[in-house]
Symmetry: C2
Subunit: 366 residues, 2 copies
């Protein structure tokens, strides 16, 4: 279950090179608009004095850190701006592993594909606990797996690829399990604005020295290419995390941080509500068409993805290529997300053509 660097790229390239019309549902790139105020932030930046083109503070521009701290109810000193959620998770996992409190990282299966690679790169050992294709995690399974060798428990809610949203009781119990085992719960909440269930609970809802929350504006503001994310550390872990951030990246990109600040200050909640409505509509259209065709799928409670499966079509790269060539729909093989998703395919709802895609799939596999 090692992260296969080229797999996403391979599938995207294969889809792009395919003959004929292919509906691209490979990657989690929103196809909706970023807020207008974000564009305005870039325009404004172009005319700033030259000193604004120089290094921001390593931990990020102060007003954005303050805005995040105020919204999340934490101290501004706990907030480190990162190069997207990718770096936030890297810093969080590094900090958990470097404390001398174990070398094992508990990951779920299915898993977001980057976590295993980060674990290995940081010298940790992955220990998988089964969440099943519906993605719901039984805390007692995590409790049984945790030990004094557990450095971190890494979860993602709302979940990629399953769409699961963990209930409050699960989140609180995960924090408690981390505390009991001197581990760090790393809660990646990058899809928090795409909770379709109304039940999402952030790990910040429990005050604890044993949890780090990671997030980014990549999905919530539809700007995966800007690379502005953040991690919220307990006070005793933040200084070492800032040091690593400085030694790896020095700082993040300042115009992008500023544009995000403008967008945060000026974007109406209606923007996010409209994106959720769009996604909800696409979930209904896509799963409705699968339902009509008698196909098996997982109804997501959040995030951008639907897992689906078709008899005789395992969740492999071969199936994905076959569906690109012959059905004109590009997804990701479930096997990229772990053993328990190996009979599934993941489709990202980032195209207006989701109903047509489901119909194409149903027709092809019929």
């Amino acid at each position: 279950m090692e992260y296969e660097t080229p797999l996403f790229f391979h599938v995207m390239g294969y889809a792009a090179d395919a003959e004929g019309d292919v509906i691209d549902m490979v990657s989690g790139n929103p196809d909706w608009e970023p807020p207008e105020s974000l564009r305005e932030g870039l325009r404004e930046y172009a005319d700033f004095d030259a000193d604004r083109f120089q290094y921001p503070p390593s931990e990020g521009i102060r007003p954005l850190r303050e805005e995040i701290a105020a919204r999340r109810g934490v101290g501004v000193s706990q907030v480190v701006l990162t190069n997207g959620a990718g770096e936030a998770n890297y810093l969080a996992m590094a900090r958990a592993l470097e404390r001398g409190a174990g070398s094992e990282v508990i990951l779920t299966d299915p898993v977001y594909s980057y976590y295993p690679g980060k674990t290995t790169m940081l010298g940790g050992r992955a220990h998988y606990v089964s969440a099943g294709a519906d993605g719901q995690l039984d805390p007692s399974v995590v409790r049984a797996a945790a030990s004094e060798d557990t450095a971190a428990i890494v979860v993602n809610t709302p979940n990629n690829p399953t769409g699961a949203v963990y209930p409050e009781a699960t989140v609180h119990e995960l924090v408690e399990i981390a505390e009991t085992n001197d581990a760090i719960l790393v809660s990646d909440e990058v899809y928090d604005h795409y909770d379709l269930s109304g039940t999402f609970t952030s790990a910040l809802s429990v005050d604890s020295a044993h949890r780090i929350v990671t997030n980014a504006f990549s999905k919530s503001l539809a700007i995966t290419g800007f690379r502005v994310g953040y991690a919220i550390f307990p006070p005793h872990l933040v200084d070492d995390a800032k040091s690593r951030h400085m030694l790896v990246n020095v700082a993040g990109s300042r115009p992008a941080q500023y544009a995000v600040l403008r967008a945060l200050q000026e974007t109406d909640p209606a923007y996010h509500e409209a994106n959720r409505d769009l996604l909800r509509e696409r979930v209904d259209l896509f799963t409705g068409a699968l339902e009509s065709a008698g196909a098996d799928y997982v109804e997501p409670d959040g995030a951008f993805y639907v897992l689906a499966r078709f008899d005789g079509y395992p969740g492999t790269l071969e199936t994905v290529e076959q569906l690109i060539d012959q059905a004109g729909v590009a997804g990701m093989p479930g096997s990229a997300f772990g053993e328990s998703a190996s009979s599934w395919l993941r489709f990202a709802l980032v195209t207006p053509r989701v109903e047509e895609a489901a119909d194409r799939l149903a027709e092809y596999v019929a």
Copy 2:
């Protein structure tokens, strides 16, 4: 000689909080203008279609990689765009250390302060070779220090903090020493556009599987806050470097990469010549005033810095704070750059007030 994360920040904060007028010569932040086309690139970006706001390729936008490859005479597949030279050096040093070909990193003394911290973070052991305060490196000293345990030799030319520019013979011999010892020469050339001597030689001038060249647009385009850099790897090392880049950062910030592309395509060589002229003038003014006052200094051949020393004022944080408070000039303690610079102070020529600064210093220490 461990990298002290807060030292730069401490000094900058101390200078900012000081009473009265302080001339800031702490950090290598250009105070001159970025090219107008770079600003135009941001303006243009603000109006792009939403799909341009999503993930760029992990290794960076293709036309910028092509532009760099063409200018540097390497294959485009060898070029990885990074989050500034900081990440480029991190990726290069990580790759050198992870080959299973030694755990020692040869660094110069004086040294650019980030290299020791990166070495330790990556599990390497620093082995210092003396360059002396003038910064010139005798290759035979490096040859004597190199062994089968040498993973990397990390150099910076034009050099921060000494201003040394290595002659062609030194660069070629360093590559040969790396080859002989199965090591990697990491040549950080971020100040290449600020060679005042006309003798700068890139390590790219020797084709070798044992050198990685790192660079950035932070200094050459006066945009330290944009975070666009690159590393050029030998073909057999590039794939693993791309994997680490992806696992740490996913990708760099796309609007910043695009603005740099526009600036590269449209900026006249006269822009760089004017910046060199400005720097040359500042070097003359600053060192001239020091000379008149009978102070000791190192005449830089490139980069932004002048090392100076004054009898009775060692290169310590205490001296720096004293000079901020009582002379109204903020520099960096030489001790931050290693043993051999411990009697020196480093002044960055990033203010139009360099002559006044030198006069203030001379008057205070007289």
